[in-house]
Amino acid sequence: MLKIDRRLIRNFDWATFSLVILLSIIGIMTIYSATRPLLPNEQPAFHIKQIYWLLIGMSALFLIVSFDYIWLSRFASPLYAAGIVLLLAVLIAGKTGMGAQRWLNIGPLSFQPSEFFRLIFIIFISRYFITVQDRMSLISMLKSFLMFTFIPLVILIKQPDLGTAIILLIMFLSISLAKGLQKKVIALLIILGIISIPFIGNIFWEGLKDYQKNRLIAFMEPDADPAGIGYHINQSKVAIGAGGFLGKGYLHGTQGPFRFLPEKQTDFIFAVFAEEWGLFGSVFLLLVYLALILRGLDTALKAKDEFGKLLASGITFMFSTYFFINVGMTLGIMPVVGIPLPFMSYGGTALLSNFIAAGILINIRARRYELFY
């Protein structure tokens, strides 16, 4: 049976755990404020559902911590295969939301396989990279991209879940960097990136759906049509700006509950928070995320083996990427890409997946001294 090591309890990463619990509680409070009823006949239950998911997430976290993360490397391939199957299932049978298929219905539950796949992808790539000797050459980089990244990328773009696809690409590059690339590969990537911007930009543009094009136009020129495509960004800036230095106070924000801000309990939850807590609260929240990220990178540095290191960097980069894209979008300095804010946005699958990811981080840190298992 399961044996809980004493050292495991002593080395349990309470810091990471507290930070994610803190973020989740702030998230639930903000979800409630964003969806609180204005008229007596409304009964939104978003925050209640999120509390259930938080409890499920915490259980999952402890479960993950109790196994050595080495197990993950053993199951990396079957997990990856299962993930691809689920993504394909969504593509075939998924229900459409916002012109995009992301959910899969299993009985009463509907969940987003892509939320899990990003994690599976990190585990799998990390597992694959430890087989590569020394710094990565161009050949091994291309090989791993074509073999393991290209297929899920195509499926995600096809869904289309552009947000997760971008995340996946960034994950691939950042884990490669964490693994270490040959200097000429880095140089080549930089040159390639610069040259291909207009070229890829064009193909990319043609392949976008109208709502995606509109988001980009709105990002470039938010004031062009305040009631139309620039509406999201403008209302988000209004919400954040209206917070001022100290905020309007908890449950006194209006942009969210009055529905001027779309996607208020999911993608734009940071704006709802910033309206109520002001610069003061927002900077505090940024510091909480910064602490979580730096702690994750520290875990990567301290990991006992390369798999742990790559896994911890991958997970932390994932949190960072989600955080920067999401908050950058609400601040109007990045285009609107529909991805949630980790631990705070409403959404069960994402919360569960993030708690599992946090569990893996805690797992790696707790087992950093166990060199000879």
Partner: protein, 600 residues
């Protein structure tokens, strides 16, 4: 090997910290530097200010008869957030609108994305029924009720009463209209425009907190509208109706004044227009049609058309000559049907002449030769001075439209404008109201009023006066002079051979003067000419002669002879006025009788 990637993680940490600093700067920018601005927008987001139109004041005639009323009508509007769910083409079909126009209305840039878009006003019951039957197909479609102005007498008195129109962009910027919402109707013409402030009342205001779907969350403030004040015009609608009916299709103008106050009792400009067409917004096509109509229905002929006054001007010549003492009532002139001046012949309208004639009969029979002589004796400059003293040659000051001043020529004018000396022949022409002389119907009514009241020029007003009129300007004419002229004018109507017999009334004694303004030089029987070459007909009149209550000028464009075309209209207008007054009097005397009976 593990050490290899320590560096990349350290670099990543630095990049991440850098991004955090960038985000903090951005937060500072939004929340501290622009915070106040965004706070204001977020507050305004939730507030919807609904302007509640105030019932407009009712316009009455001088006797308290209502001329307008406010009647309810239905209109359709659409909440813009439901646009995506509405099939615009079938909506256009149901509302009987052109779908291109409807798209244009919907796509017009709006300030507030949640403000309902007005689609169509004055819906018929059939349209409302059609919309209601398919309610569920058109979410966000609102049928609501509003008030519109109804002009009870249609085109009667339209030039004076005026009409309403949507407030235009330049008016919206005017502080005078600060409280008026952008789609509101305000007075745009006539009394509706002049007294808009009085009639308009104060818009009510309901401020409610709304969410982005436009749902009312809670009311914040409720200020009921204040009805506009009523307005009592000086016109008599019975007089107005009587006069306008007689004009029928003819063009012209009639102005009737109370000579003791300057109140406008009747104000006709024909052809007229129906102000009801404007009440809910006139369509572009209708507006073009009105403005391109060859009959010029939008031209205010009482104030804006100027013509030679013809023989009505002999009132001025007679007054000037008598007052200056260059003729007396006994002065006799021999009319042989015309006089020769150089190579020119100045004829009298009566080719065989009037024989030896004195002032009274010269007025009665409108002898041209007598007035050539009188004009010659007075001289053009004195004649012009008297014309001006009696109110000609300058605006009367009725602010309805941009008024024309007319023209009273003299030697100075001719030298300045034509750079020519004045010829005596031109004095002859001026003395009988032809040639350069030009007047408006309004000016002639004022002149008639001044002659009737003993030489006082009151500023005209379209409001019934409850107090004494503002002091009048004195024309400085001896009362005896005016008495003599008035006697002549009485004769015109009531004596045998008088040119104005057509305005003789059994109800009241009328005095007046005919006038026929030549359009072409040849004197022919007017009826044989095409209408556009026919003479203009004038008639100025006052009644009762003894103690005058009404003075008027009737003008018929291309009407032919003044005595034939204009005099009957003047008579009907006068009778229209006194019939109404008579009714009051009869009632009054009955009550007196009752009192007497009671005493007995």
């Amino acid at each position: 090997m593990i050490n290899n990637n320590r560096d990349s993680i350290r670099i990543a940490s630095l990049v991440i910290i850098g991004l955090f600093i960038l985000f903090t700067i951005r937060l500072w920018q939004l929340q501290v530097l622009q915070g106040k601005e965004y706070r204001k927008i977020s507050t305004e987001n939730m507030l919807r200010i609904i302007k509640i139109p105030a019932p407009r004041g009712i316009i009455y005639d001088r006797n308290g008869i209502p001329l307008v009323k406010n009647s309810p009508y239905f209109y359709a509007s659409l909440m813009p957030e439901h646009l995506e769910n509405v099939d615009i083409n079938s909506l256009a079909e149901i509302l009987g609108l052109n779908s291109v126009d409807l798209y244009a209305k919907i796509n017009k840039k709006r300030l507030n994305p949640f403000e309902p878009i007005k689609l169509k006003e004055s819906l018929t019951f059939a349209e409302i029924a059609a919309v209601e039957a398919r309610r569920s197909d058109f979410p966000g479609l609102i049928i609501d009720i509003d008030m519109s102005r109804e002009y009870l007498y249609g085109d009667v008195g339209a030039h004076l009463i005026g009409y309403l129109g949507k407030i235009n962009p330049s008016q919206s910027k005017d502080p005078e209209f600060r409280d008026v919402p952008p789609d509101a109707f305000i007075g745009q013409w006539g009394a509706e425009l002049l007294f808009d402030r009085t009639l308009r009342g104060t818009f009510g205001e309901r401020i409610i907190e709304v969410d982005a779907l436009g749902r009312e969350i809670r009311p914040l403030q409720d200020k009921p509208p204040v009805k506009g004040d009523d307005l009592r015009l000086s016109i008599d609608i019975n007089l107005q109706k009587a006069a306008e009916e007689l004009y029928a299709d003819r063009a012209g103008a009639l102005v009737a004044l109370n000579p003791n106050t300057g109140e406008v009792l009747g104000f006709v400009s024909k052809p007229s227009f129906d102000p009801n067409k404007f009440a809910r917004g006139i369509s572009y096509d209708q507006w073009i049609e009105l403005n391109q109509d060859k009959k010029l229905p939008m031209l205010n002929r009482a104030l804006q058309s100027q013509y030679p006054p013809g023989s009505t001007f002999k009132i001025v010549t007679a007054t000037a000559a008598l007052n200056e003492g260059v003729i007396t009532p006994e002065t006799k002139v021999n009319c042989s049907g015309g006089i020769n001046y150089g190579t020119w012949r100045f004829g009298c309208w009566k080719k065989n002449g009037h024989g030896t004639i004195s002032l009274h009969r010269a007025i009665v029979e409108s002898c041209d030769v007598y007035f050539y002589e009188a004009g010659k004796r007075v001289g053009i400059d004195k004649l012009a001075e008297y014309a001006r003293r009696l109110g000609l040659g300058s605006e009367t000051g009725l602010p309805l439209v941009k008024e024309r001043a007319g023209l009273i020529p003299d030697t100075k004018w001719k030298l300045e404008k034509r750079n020519q000396q004045w010829y005596l022949g031109e004095t002859f022409n001026a003395a009988i109201g032809q040639g350069y002389v030009a007047v408006t119907p309004m000016q002639m009514a004022q002149l008639m009023s001044a002659v009737a009241n003993g030489g006082f020029i009151y500023s005209p007003t379209i409001i019934k006066l409850e107090t004494l009129p503002s002091p009048a300007r004195k024309a400085d004419v001896k009362p005896e002079t005016l008495e003599l002229v008035k006697n002549g004018l009485y004769g015109v109507v009531n004596e045998a051979g008088g040119t104005g017999g057509a305005s003789r009334s059994k109800i009241v004694t009328v005095g007046g003067k005919t006038g026929t303004a030549q359009v072409v030089g040849i004197r022919k029987s007017s009826n044989l000419l095409p209408e556009r070459f026919r003479d203009h007909a004038w008639f100025v009149a006052f009644a009762p002669v003894e103690k005058t209550e009404i003075a008027l000028c009737a003008f018929v464009e291309h009407g032919g002879h003044g005595g034939g075309a204009a005099a009957p209209i003047a008579k009907l207008a006068i009778e229209g006025y006194f019939k109404n007054k008579g009714a009051e009097r009869i009632q009054g005397s009955k009550e007196q009788k009752k009192d007497k009976n009671a005493e007995n």
